[in-house]
Amino acid sequence: MKKTLLIALSLGVSVAATSTMATTIDPEKDRLQMVDFFKAKNPNITPEEYVNGAYIYSADKMAQWEAAEEFPPYLDSIDAGEAHYNKDKAVFDKCFGTDVSKIRVQYPYFDESAKQVVTLEGAINKCRTDAGLKAYGLKKGALAQVSAYLAYNARGQKIDVKIESDAAKAAYAAGRDFFIKPRGQLNLSCAKCHVDNSGRKARANTLSPLLGHTTHFPVFRAKWQALGTLHRRYEGCQKNMRAEPYKAQSETYRNLEFYQAYSSQGLEINGPGYRE
């Protein structure tokens, strides 16, 4: 039985990602429904503005973000990322080519031969270990800095995730399933906060929208006073929601990233981003 994202959301039912289901999933139709949902929720906000996350919902917050962006604290991270990258440039050039502005936009993608989602951060580490170098830690530090350097060089480019095969669709469906399924002690799903209640407050925080969610990663969080990767954020949010987190770069999180990236298809990359 075919279920669209919104129907699934309203019924609170998860969509199992079996291979038969995969063929009935239409990621583009899903995405357009979601864009329409957000348009209906806030008619005055254009889809392009969603790359600024929760800031679009409050002029007060937006002003604070703009104040931070006057001279953002992630500049050092970009420089550090560049230094790391150049240190092993011979290795990275072989994996990614010599043009650093062309790398970020290619991820995440579905690797048809390995039958799995490949993320930028995963690819950076695989490139290193394949060449005998030590892998970077997955949540912060060098990996986040290199990712920031590559994101910065790709700013303005539009997200362009390809989903062509049934296997890719299944990965998308698995990510979507994770996003809408309630879990943990609070029985919350990602969708409950970031779709249904996007723009509203949970305690003191304004909930950010699914649309444009991942365009600004890696993120410099004021709370961390440091840079962190997308999977670091996934883990932290799950812990806060009293749910057992998965590991950074696990298949679960990679599929989730794949779903989220596709959900921001056509929006501009604006990483690294400053957030609360």
Partner: protein, 155 residues
């Protein structure tokens, strides 16, 4: 307690100017002592007395104080004091009314500087950010409440 005296229109001599440019002059040789009495004062009044010898400042609509209504993160609250509409600004002081030691920072301006400063400060709880401007020998002020919340969700 040594009060810094900084005369508007003071010109560095040629030798001083060269030394500053060459990085040879360090702030400790040029500036007077850090005003520890004012910085350790526990009330805004005492802090202001420590800097200006007086704590009575008149509210002025000519001072544009920009601070968030709700600080996203109290440790990095952006504050801008724009007193360019006031004549003869000599100094701007920023205080955080309920910080254990309210005095945050103080700026003295020579002729080449405008009465303007923008920075980020630490505010530990909901309180007023207070901007005091000394201009033409008088003390003016503007203040605004900034709500500071404890973070909610998110790793």
């Amino acid at each position: 307690m040594k009060r810094r005296s900084f005369l508007k229109g003071t010109l560095a001599t040629g030798a001083t100017a060269v030394a500053v440019n060459a990085g040879l002059l360090t702030p400790s040789t040029v500036l007077a002592e850090w005003n520890s009495k004012a910085f350790s004062a526990k009330t805004t009044d005492d802090a202001l007395s420590g800097i200006y010898g007086s704590s009575s400042a008149t509210a002025s609509g000519d001072i544009k104080l920009k601070a968030p209504a709700i600080a996203e993160n109290g440790a990095v609250t952006p504050v801008t004091v724009d007193a360019t509409a006031v004549n003869g600004v000599e100094s701007i002081t920023i205080l955080a009314s309920k910080n254990p030691m309210p005095l945050v920072c103080e700026y003295t301006f020579a002729a080449a500087a405008l009465g303007f400063v923008s920075t980020r400060i630490k505010m530990g709880q909901t309180m007023n950010v207070v901007a005091v401007v000394k201009a033409d020998g008088k003390l003016l002020k503007a203040e605004q409440e900034v709500k500071v919340t404890i973070g909610g969700c998110g790793g």
